[in-house]
Subunit: 183 residues, 2 copies
DNA sequence: AGGCTAACGCAACGATGAGTGCGATAATTT
DNA sequence: AAATTATCGCACTCATCGTTGCGTTAGCCT
């Protein structure tokens, strides 16, 4: 009597999901926020609007899903052997990702869609930074606190991207790492 | 023959403007983003939708206007006599402001409304920080660079508010000031 | 106080987004 | 290979947003 709701993740469903996610990213990058509507997304994805309404329900949930899918696992945690090297490589990757206007547009739209939109964009990065620090700790090295690292690395990076509109250079990012490790 | 477009800022216009701004803040705080529509704002403000359409045009411009109005001049630059004191007081005020859920909701909606939405929320704070540093410089004290101050103070503050969802305590904010002045 | 005109309210229309019932398709299982 | 059923496409309806023309109200100036 188990009412197991079995899902069906292979084949067409996956294709539809990917196409819709791609359409969301493109539309978020293209026009103003009010053009990001479900019929528009469906048309661009080559899918019927009904499908999107049924699978996601609202623009907010659609954006949250697209954002978590986009911001999870597209940056690999490096392993250079030293904490400084790991952090510098990782910051460089994150900064490069944040320099893409399409990524920024998706982030802005996701933030605007609800209270946890911002978290969906950064949780993965938070965990990656924690993993880097944990590994150094396993190596036996002295590590900064995760909170301090978040404040001094992620904070400035995301602030510049969203609130200042400045591009983040690799050199500047390495300076942040140096400041963290010096303190 | 001067075609001076004379505006009429007093009396009713100002009342309407204030009521609409208030309605935007309330609606942004109340429901999801898709409920923040011009007819809804007009109804809550006790104003006819046509008025809002004509004066602001789109939800994006309306949000930008409301945000700049809300985030300008509601924090006074303190003058305690020392740089550390000024920064601590100011950070405390900003942190308190950012702890208000309504303020956060307005910020999120503004960020989601367009590419410069984020700037509209932070430009004033940027200038205030610059003013504090300039005053200390006039006093003859040694001052940090404005960029570094932004990275180490505004960055963590806004990152926590938007991307981490953590409340910012006054103690933690003072720690940021200490770290900046120590470096 | 009276005129001038910017700003607002009202009514109506077209366009489009949101939601629903039903049949068709294709992924998964036996 | 055949059956099962989750998922999708289609046609249709309802609600509401965006816009325009016109009359009215109420700031500002002489």
């Amino acid at each position: 009597m188990t009412e197991a709701v079995q899902t069906r993740p292979g084949g067409r469903s996956a294709r539809v999901r990917a196409a819709v996610h791609r359409a969301v990213e493109e539309l978020a990058a293209a026009g103003p926020a009010e053009t990001l509507t479900i019929p528009a997304v469906a048309a661009r994805a080559g899918v019927h609007p009904t499908t999107v309404y049924r699978r996601w329900g609202s623009v907010g949930q659609l954006l949250a899903d697209a954002a978590t899918s986009r911001f999870s696992g597209n940056v690999v945690v490096p392993d250079t052997g030293s904490l400084a090297g790991d952090l510098e490589r990782w910051m460089d990757d994150v900064a490069t990702d944040l320099a893409d206007p399409d990524v920024l547009a998706l982030m802005r739209a996701t933030i605007g869609s609800g209270p946890d939109g911002g978290c969906a964009c950064a949780v993965d990065r938070h965990e990656q930074l924690g993993a880097i620090i944990e590994r150094e700790q396993a190596r036996g090295g002295k590590v900064p606190e995760l909170e301090r690292a978040v404040d001094m690395l992620l904070g400035p990076l995301y602030y510049r991207a969203i609130f200042a509109g400045q591009p983040a250079s690799g050199e500047w990012a390495r300076g942040l790492v140096a400041a963290l490790l010096a303190g």
